[in-house]
């Protein structure tokens, strides 16, 4: 229970991995015990590697009949004590929304990788997009919170998959790894360290599994078979899981705690990197693959003496509202390049008091550094 240092499963050293390989290995390093999935481009490579690697590590692999079954089986496995994961892309992510809401309501730790492709609908299966950012936040009905992480490199695909499991276990929440096709298929050299920090869910026999007075708002989670006679339900329930579907106080308390256990801890959860921010007038807000292109562009413009910097969001949800508000008071303008129609730009506009410019490209291709340089020159 709680934090501990554990040995990496792969020997420490340097590896040449695709993003998909790195996410599979990150899951294995985090001690994933159950993986269920359904084939989908461009996420299948994760399932493929896990199915092979589980022969050595002893995890349970299930290829299910669809993504609904995949995510629901994760909930069953997680309550049976597993660290559970699936990987998909847009169309499968749409089908999983039901299960994501269920996992949020039952406070079940699960990890879902969405290797985003160009949508809507079937769209361009093997091309890149990042159009699922808002779906990740709002995809299932009702009010709930999730955590969404966005890697920009193969190294981060590994590190952040471990982090996804840790956050899921710590906050008993679905954690979504919003990768993009370009990250899933990117190949890079990465370093795997000797030991890693692993968080395992809190257990406390007899304690209420759906209510707590603890400050973090996260109740302990026993497993099936522990003798706790658990009541798990997606219906509104009291601290012990008993359905209370017409009690306004129970509903208000539950929905409020599901919200607060993430939002009150958001300063601990939020993660970002800053580049050339000290004297920047114009700030790029980047995430995922587009942040890589943006950094190239910024370094080129910096060499010309332009005062430009970048804030790279590593956690997209909960959103870094305070940070954006702060930057908005200092910068002249914020520029948000994205492979969608301004999903994060809209969020930035909610909090930044300065001018916010959204640059959107939805042609199934990554945004090249040259494009960003060109766009930024108009601003500078």
């Amino acid at each position: 229970m709680g934090w501990k240092r554990m040995k990496s499963i792969l020997p420490a050293g340097s590896y040449y991995f695709s993003g998909a390989d790195a996410m599979a290995e990150g899951a294995i390093a985090a001690r994933v015990g159950y993986f269920a999935g359904y084939p989908i481009t461009p996420a299948t490579e994760i399932m493929k590697r896990i199915s092979v690697r589980f022969r050595d590590t002893g995890g349970v692999f299930m290829q299910m009949e669809d993504e609904i079954a995949s995510v629901c089986s994760l909930v069953g496995a997680s309550w049976a004590g597993a660290k559970a994961m699936t990987a998909t892309s847009g169309p499968g992510f749409s089908l999983m929304q039901e299960g994501i809401g269920y996992a949020a309501m039952t406070e079940t730790p699960i990890v879902i990788v969405d290797v985003q492709r160009a949508g809507p609908s079937t769209g361009q299966a093997s091309r890149v997009g990042s159009g699922d950012i808002m779906q990740a936040k709002w995809g299932s009905h009702g009010d709930y919170q999730i955590i969404a992480i966005c890697p920009w490199s193969v190294q981060e695909a590994y590190d952040q998959t471990i982090k996804a499991f840790n956050l899921a276990e710590k906050y008993r929440v679905p954690v979504l790894l919003l990768a993009e096709e370009a990250i899933g298929h990117l190949r890079e050299r990465i370093n795997i360290s000797e030991d890693i920090g692993i968080f395992n869910r809190k257990k406390k026999s007899g304690a209420a599994p759906f209510g707590t007075e603890e400050e973090d708002g996260v109740p302990p989670m026993p497993a099936f078979g522990d003798g706790d006679k658990l009541l798990v339900t997606g219906s509104t329930h009291n601290d012990y899981g008993l359905r209370k579907t017409d009690d306004p106080l129970v509903q208000a308390k539950l929905v409020s705690r599901l919200d607060k256990k993430i939002m009150n801890n958001r300063e601990r959860i939020i993660d970002y990197d800053s580049y050339y921010m000290e004297d920047a007038d114009v700030i790029v807000i980047g995430y995922g693959f587009t942040a890589r292109s943006s950094l190239f562009a910024i370094e080129k413009l910096r060499a010309e003496g332009k005062k430009i910097g970048m804030l790279r969001l590593k956690i997209l949800w909960p959103f870094a509202d305070g940070l954006i508000r702060d930057i908005g008071t200092k910068a002249k303008a914020i520029f948000v390049p994205e492979m969608n129609k301004g999903q994060v730009a809209g969020e930035v506009m909610k909090y930044a008091s300065c001018q916010v410019i959204s640059y959107s490209q939805t042609n199934g291709e990554v945004i090249y550094p040259g494009t960003i340089v060109e766009q930024l020159r108009r601003l500078l």
Binding site: A36, G76, F224
Partner: protein, 254 residues
């Protein structure tokens, strides 16, 4: 003796079922089967979906229970069973939940022959939402959404699940309590995917729209309609149309 079964019920709960509902009978029969087998209920996991039958185990059974989204009982059960094979997993849900919205999961779990026991409480209608037709509603039957009689044929659930590869498949009505208890015991002892269709009367939604106004009329209807495989042997196809054949349709070689 009857009160002995209370040890398996969560204290201080009241039955959620309508007067005349068969699910209360089924609840008792399931607990009797567990009691007679001597299974430790703490080693069991009860999984149910949405609808009246989903409330048989959740929250009534004093054991680990998981109440899933509509139609998803079997995938949740699959995940739990595959990760912890020591759990004896019993799925109890309705026909609409397991076969309509969850039908794809049902046939795939049967195909994989996952070691689960499924009890499908079949009342031939969507009870909780007010009596709409479902995939088990008899052709011609009146429901909220088939005011001129159901134009479609129902599934034969046992044929469907047996064809999908289940190890054990049986059908009994709650009006055949001893046979149903024996069947549940057999299913719980059998390795592999076991499916029991338990016919259960719904006077509130099905009976009142189909000239079976009282709970006793509905029970009599099931007692008259349900025949054994042996009784079915002498009947013509036309006579069989009016009957529901009960018994074991795949016994897993036992």
């Amino acid at each position: 003796m009857a009160r002995d079964l209370e040890q398996y019920l969560r204290p201080r709960l009241i039955t959620p079922f309508c007067p005349g509902c068969g699910h209360g009978i089924l609840m008792g029969l399931i607990l009797r089967a567990i009691d007679e087998l001597g299974v430790d209920i703490d080693d069991m996991l009860f999984v149910s979906g949405i609808g009246c039958a989903g409330w048989i185990p959740s929250p009534n059974f004093n054991a680990d229970t998981i109440h899933t989204p509509h139609g998803r009982a079997i995938p949740c059960a699959t995940g739990a069973k595959m990760f912890n094979p020591k759990l004896q997993v019993l799925v109890i849900s309705g026909d609409g939940d397991l076969v309509d919205i969850g039908g794809n999961h049902l046939i795939h779990a049967a195909r994989r022959n996952i070691d689960l026991t499924i009890i499908c409480a079949n009342n031939m209608i969507y009870g909780m939402t007010g009596g709409q037709a479902c995939s088990t509603t008899p052709q011609g039957a009146f429901t909220q959404t088939t005011g001129q009689g159901n134009p479609y044929r129902p599934f034969d659930l046992c044929k469907l699940v047996a064809a999908a590869g289940a190890t054990y498949v049986a059908r009994y009505s709650v009006t055949q309590p001893l046979a149903l208890i024996a069947s549940i015991k057999k299913a719980l002892r059998t390795q592999g995917f076991c499916f029991i269709e338990a016919l259960s009367p719904c006077p509130t939604q099905f009976g009142r729209r189909n000239q079976l106004d009282s709970p006793t009329d509905m029970l009599k209807f099931l007692m008259d309609t349900c025949i054994t495989k042996e009784e079915a042997k002498g009947l013509s196809p036309e006579e069989l149309e009016e009957k529901i054949v009960t018994g074991e349709f795949s016994d897993g070689g036992n």
